[in-house]
């Protein structure tokens, strides 16, 4: 190995010394111990790398909100459960096909267009089954724009307590042919609130403009209508008292 080859290898040697025991560097390091010129070059190289590394690290400031936002993702994106593993998906798909047929018949029999049914379904979904968002963004303007592009509810009116809070993202759902806009917001202490918006024409018994509070299983909800749209705020972590403060 000549000095040029040794230099090429030693340029990949990290300044923190983590590579001291890597056999790939051993020969080049031994050569640097024997050759004073190569040793000087290597010392300068390490000093340079160390300084450049420190300055690059100092120059890129991580946004203050990023960590809390990433941790909040666990509230809206569920880890894949064991039964969703690829090996079992095929078997599950076959079972699901049978179940869907049975469920379709059952749903047809018990079909209800009522608001209560919608609230229960959406609260249960947002609180316990939401597995992904179509758009991840803390910028509500971007969320509105995206919803408009999807011909959903970009013009939704936020309740006072959610106005100005960072969003986590959104998704468009379907309720019997009506688009439902789901927007997630980050509250204090890693809590998450889901705002669901649908056209009031989807129901014969849409709520009035006075908020109604309900507990759906482990999910607290508040519902109201305004400007031809029906809104639900749902949260698994927040209490109904917390929801009242958001409206």
């Amino acid at each position: 190995m000549n000095n040029e080859e040794a230099k090429l290898i030693l340029q990949a040697y990290r300044p923190g010394g983590q590579d001291a025991n890597d056999p790939r560097f051993r020969e080049a390091l031994e050569q640097a111990q024997r050759d004073p010129e190569l040793a000087r070059w290597f010392a300068n190289e390490q000093a340079l790398d160390s300084r450049i590394s420190a300055k690059v690290k100092a120059s890129i400031a991580t946004p203050a909100h990023l960590k809390s936002q990433l941790l909040a993702q666990t509230k809206i994106i569920r880890p894949v459960a064991w039964w969703k593993q690829p090996a079992l998906r095929f078997a599950l798909a076959a079972c699901l096909a049978v179940l869907v047929t049975v469920a379709a018949v059952w749903l047809n029999l018990s079909r209800s267009d009522g608001f209560a049914k919608y609230r229960t379904t959406m609260a249960e979904f947002a609180g316990n089954k939401l597995d992904r968002l179509d758009l991840m963004s803390r910028d509500l303007t971007e969320v509105r724009r995206w919803l408009e592009q999807k011909e959903s509810h970009g013009d939704l009116v936020l309740p006072a307590g959610l106005d100005g809070r960072p969003s986590l993202g959104c998704r468009v759902l379907d309720w019997k042919g009506h688009k439902v806009s789901l927007v997630c917001f980050e509250l204090e202490n890693k809590q998450v609130a889901h705002l669901l918006v649908v056209d009031s024409s989807a129901f014969k018994d849409a709520p009035t403009d006075s908020p109604v509070f309900n507990q759906v299983g482990n999910v607290a909800t508040a519902s109201w209508s305004r400007g031809g749209k029906t809104y639900i705020v749902a949260s698994k972590e927040a209490s109904q008292t917390d929801l009242m403060k958001l409206l």
């Binding site: 990290r14 890597d22 300068n44 300084r51 590394s53 690059v56 993702q73 880890p79 963004s137």
Partner: protein, 183 residues
């Protein structure tokens, strides 16, 4: 992956991942989005990760693939053989680096072409070994070494130019600011 493992992965790597995203995308918004999307995939596809000790490599590889997906780039990056590397690096001392502002060095690094910038950023910012860099970028080890060498040379050319500019400025400015002096 359970919630505790996820939170540990966030706490340990999110800053380094953000910085890597920044080095790829060149701006804070995209860097944040790349980081979010990477952790989103950890939540939804983390079960593919059989060995939790490999989470660091998995996260950086995933972020890089997300970035490539964004660019919809299909063409393979050119590989440089060791024989094509320029061994003579520009002469620059640690003292030259000391006079430069942090963001001047970052900007010089961001000026490099992506296939040089990416391994160098992993080397400087995230303390990855050449083997980890090769795995993340899916290129041979020899290619990583040659790209690191060439990238360092290109970065130093830019740093020398900036350092000389500062030296020249510091020599000229006091003269210009002297009262009653004529140019």
């Amino acid at each position: 992956m359970n919630e505790a493992d996820y939170e540990q992965a966030v706490a340990t790597y999110y800053e380094a991942l953000y910085a890597f995203g920044y080095s790829l995308a060149g701006n804070a918004d995209d860097a944040g989005e790349l980081t979010q999307e990477t952790y989103c995939r950890l939540l939804t596809k983390g079960s593919q990760l059989r060995d939790i000790t490999k989470v660091k490599s998995w996260l950086f590889t995933t972020l890089y693939r997300v970035f490539l997906g964004w660019k919809e780039r299909r063409a393979r990056l050119p590989h440089f053989e060791i024989s094509s590397v320029e061994h003579e690096l520009p002469v620059i001392t640690p003292e030259h680096v000391d006079v430069l502002r942090d963001d001047a060095i970052r900007d010089a690094l961001l000026e490099l072409e992506e296939h040089y910038r990416t391994p160098l950023m992993l080397f400087y910012m995230n303390d990855h070994s050449y083997e980890e860099i090769a795995k993340i970028l899916d290129v041979p080890i020899g290619t990583v070494m040659s790209r690191l060498s060439r990238a360092k040379g290109l970065l130093r050319e830019r740093l020398v130019a900036r350092a000389i500019g500062i030296e020249t400025e510091s020599k000229i400015l006091p003269l210009e600011r002297k009262p009653n002096s004529t140019p």
